[in-house]
Subunit: 309 residues, 2 copies
């Protein structure tokens, strides 16, 4: 890589208070929040996740802008941080760049990364750049923190919990998947208002990810399938996909909405509130494992579907 | 990736006390140490770094074992953690695997990763796996912590400091570069015994990395060039490289030894002690920027050399 690009990058990575030492040393030094929302000292735990996206596998660079690729590489990780109920602080960004036009490509990818970093007030605290004979690959590690012991795990769902989903799902491949809106703000508000028992983000499909949450919690879900909030994109896609809008909503991936469970009383409270994003109860947690549809008092087992890696 | 490999991986990633939630949720949850060595509560900062190595660029898979590649991918990051004077806690490992033989390759790479993780008591807290039409790439993010405000930066060198280097340098390409020994133990002992002002690890060459440390600190170095601890490998390589052993020691990269500065009084104390690895004073920090050789009272400017990305 050209040294001048690294200097440029360093200049563009803004200083944020949570990063004591950023790009330019052997490693970044990051402060975890040491006070809670009320300003009191609070014990925090570090939350960390990583996801890579590769040209030809997870996106096709010939078909959309590299800024979108950069944006998405961070957004999908922020979505994981939101699903833990955590607050993001900083990201480490690693690019493997095709030898040809490496600097131009890096610059365009970083435009999208800087945009989402600004939007969510996270710092680019470090990273790595290589050029090689291969396709563009963007690998992001996202760091954040949660109150100690209070991360939202997949394994915390309890019998009787309400199951809620944010936003509208299905058909994200029409374009939304390039600019997903990670539910960080929603997660912050939920943490203030209610006690979320379990959460997961929808990366591989509503039903597949809900099934994963249920399996981790050793429970099942009884769904009112007609309540699933179908996105307009699913309706449009159904016009020539040979599948119904509901099937798209059930199994399409890359929605990056949150599925979460909480007590029915807590659910009733937030379903009446305005948290800035639509919330829908799609069912309840039951003891019997698996996904179930109740219709006229009869239960039918549903098959989870989605993108399996 | 085969689901069975992911299950295998999850089973192999041992539980360590610092990881509250490991592989299998949306993100890992990691405890920073909340007590110091004496058992008192201590405020810690998070330290994070990331480095990727790619087949054909940073190693040649046809020439050495994939376990070595895995070992090295973690070792080079641990070396950065050591250079911050930090304690490593956990790693996130991302593999981009050639479509052909992906599972076998991943298994072999992970053998080396598990080995070094055991050796340094770090947890594999998460990661990502993809297969694609490209060369093997291993990207590791290493997390650790330091006492708040006490990370060893490149920028902390002070006029009059002694400049020390660990181990012996030069000729690492004869094979040592595949199994570098990150100086984590040394860093821990130094932190207990003395006040290190600045540190960097040798990844691109003794002189080049020392020059970076000096530039960050706005100082220079006056070197007794004959004291540079030359590795036997440098002597062997010099037999048919057309360069002297000293030139190899001066400019070869991938030694992964530490260069650090501290007061002359502190230096004198540890130069007499046994910290488990050879320590050599190679010079002193001076106000005048640049690297300088003193001989018979005269100063000659030295040119930093090494591997420039």
């Amino acid at each position: 890589m050209e040294h001048s690009f690294l200097s440029y990058l360093r200049g563009r990575c803004r200083s944020l208070p949570q990063v004591a030492v950023g790009i330019g040393d052997d490693a970044a030094v990051i402060d975890a929040a040491v006070t809670d929302a009320a300003g009191s000292p609070a014990e925090r735990q570090l939350v960390a996740c990583t996801d890579q996206i590769i040209d030809g596998v997870d996106f096709v660079s010939a078909e959309h802008s590299l800024a979108d690729v950069g944006y998405k590489s961070v957004a999908i990780n922020l979505s994981d941080i939101a699903a833990m109920g955590a607050t993001p602080t900083s990201a480490l960004v690693t690019l493997a760049l095709p030898d040809k036009n490496a600097t131009r490509i890096a610059g365009e990818v970083y435009e999208g990364i800087f945009e989402i970093a600004r939007e969510f007030q996270i710092a680019i605290a470090g990273g790595d750049l290589s050029t090689y004979n291969g396709p563009l690959s963007v690998s992001v590690t996202l760091l954040g923190d949660v109150p100690a012991g209070a991360a939202w795990l997949r394994s915390g769902a309890q019998e009787g919990d309400a199951i809620l989903v944010s936003g509208f799902v299905g058909g994200s491949l029409r374009g939304r998947h390039l600019r997903p809106q990670p539910r960080i703000d929603l997660a912050t508000k939920l943490r203030e208002l209610v006690d979320v028992h379990a959460a997961i983000d929808i990366s591989d499909g509503l039903s597949l990810d809900l099934d994963r949450l249920c399996a981790s919690s050793h429970v099942g879900a009884e769904l009112s399938v007609e309540t699933i909030p179908i996105h307009d994109d699913a309706i449009v896609m159904a016009q020539d996909s040979g599948r119904t809008p509901w099937e798209h909503a059930w199994s399409d991936g890359e929605d990056f909405e949150l599925i979460f469970t909480l007590s029915q009383a807590d659910a009733d409270r937030i379903l009446e509130a305005d948290l800035g994003v639509e919330l829908t109860q799609i069912g309840s947690v039951v003891g019997r494992t698996g996904l179930w549809k109740r219709k006229a008092g009869k239960f039918t087992r549903l098959s989870p579907q989605g993108y399996s890696h």
